[in-house]
Amino acid sequence: MLDLTNIRNEFPMLKKNNLVYFDNAATTFKPYKVINAVMDYYENCSVNVHRGDYDLSFQVSNQFDQAREAVAKYLNATSKEIVFTSGASSSLNLVAYGYGQKYLKEGDVILSTEAEHASNILPWFKVSEVTKAKIEYIPLNEEGILSIENFKKAMHDKVKVVTLAQVSNVLGHKVPMKEICKIAHSYGAVVVVDGAQSVPHLKMDVQDLDIDFLAFSAHKMCGPTGVGVLYGKYDLLQATDPFLLGGGSNARFDICGNILLKNAPYKFEAGTPAIEGVLGLKAAVEYLMDIGMEHIEEYEKELNQYFVEKLRPLEHVVIYNPSGTCGIVTFNVKGIFAQDVASYLSSKGFAIRAGNHCAKILIDVIQASETLRASVYFYNTKEEIDAFIQALSEITLEKCIAVVI
């Protein structure tokens, strides 16, 4: 069981505001531990990381290395497999351009779904355009779920890259990643996992799942914005080209243009990194591991089920993912446009998102172009859900207009 009172006391955003925040799929609040880590860097050790010609730089470089180790521990990886990036989007672009574009050729296939976030499909559009490799989509079932049967049917010898979100940002369904990796590997394909919505919520074990590449953002897991991670199996990272070149990524270069790159992960980290962001991410993963990802996962599942159970009796509400488990509830209020519902709820102190969430699936599979998304994190409570349901049960079109005019 989580100690919610204690947990909520650690988040200034939860203490100060009366806001009920259900937009955690977009970004999350930060505990003092993370905020203090960022401040500590600026207040006490605000120097660059470069192996120390002086003590302070040496200390900060050590902290930076420890951050890599902390993230590796969080994923059950080794620290040389952890590349710091500016976020999930940049990690996914790095794999697409540095690996996909380097090795794919005409006749090859990139296998994905129509439910991907733009950041995990647009880079592959570009790779497909340049390499002439084709993108194919695994059909989803009528609930928008990716089944292992459909994956098996879609898999074939030409598939060289499988790129999938482990948890969809639209419907919150978790895909059976371990089986997918096993099958993909039996065909010799590499599996790229968009972990933006899974790594913050689930106990991750990249070795057990046998994932090849994994991308995620710190800000969706209590960490700072502007920093993220690309995990890659070491030999795959070594085989990947950097996206940026510059200071810190090369061992030496000469005037004739010969460049000797460092080994992974350093060859990917040209330029001064977001040092405070990386140190903040270290604090975030330590914070999450202290609570225990198993506990977080279990509690969020419970919250998710509670949410759906309370929402279901409301006759004016349609739920699109009643069987979801990962904290994302996607729904609509019949007869009221999603944006109007979100505005009304905002006037009552609830933050949820109205949108089409960058994915085509909603139109094709669910026949609704706009939806509302409520996404919880481990610091949310059943009481907040109760208050939300109360506000939602009272909503009318007239009230939606009255909060504006």
Binding site: F337, Q339, D340, C400, I405
Partner: protein, 149 residues
């Protein structure tokens, strides 16, 4: 009649949202079409105009949008239909001034006066502008094409 009673303002919006005027596109070469897909929200509407001899002969729209976007587009298409370009531009300028909390001639805005408080909701002002932005662009494009001829 005054439009400044809050209940009346809400009733007008409700009426135009549930029973929008001019909400049907036509397939007709003499119409020009503008697609407005907002980057900051999820509204997605099309506006059509038929402008001849300096007069807005017809205005139509369709699409999915929130209460404020739909009702404001409905009201403005009804208000601007059959106006000549000069009048239409003047009315649009009054409407924009109202949403920007500047001086404006409320007489000219008729039902559109129901948005006189919209300026207080900074994040919804754009909903009140999506339709007139499309109409303004259609008017401008018509003027440019007339100049070219």
């Amino acid at each position: 009649m005054t439009y400044f009673d809050q209940n009346l303002m809400r009733a007008i919006i409700m009426d135009h949202y549930t029973n929008p005027r001019n909400k049907k596109l036509v397939e007709d070469e003499s119409y020009k079409t503008k697609h407005m897909a907002s980057e900051s929200c999820i509204d997605d509407i099309y506006v059509q105009s038929k402008i001849e001899d300096g007069v807005i002969k017809d205005l139509r729209f369709d699409g999915v949008a929130c209460t404020i976007s739909t009702s404001s587009t409905s009201i403005m298409t009804a208000l601007l239909k059959n106006k000549d370009i000069k009048q239409a531009k003047h009315i649009i300028a009054q409407y924009r001034a109202m949403l920007n909390e500047l001086d404006y001639d409320s007489e000219l805005l008729e039902e559109a006066n129901c948005f006189c408080n919209l300026s207080k909701q900074a994040n919804r002002i754009k909903c009140g502008l999506i339709g007139v932005d499309a109409i303004s662009e259609l008017i401008e494009e018509n003027e440019v094409s007339n100049d070219e001829q």
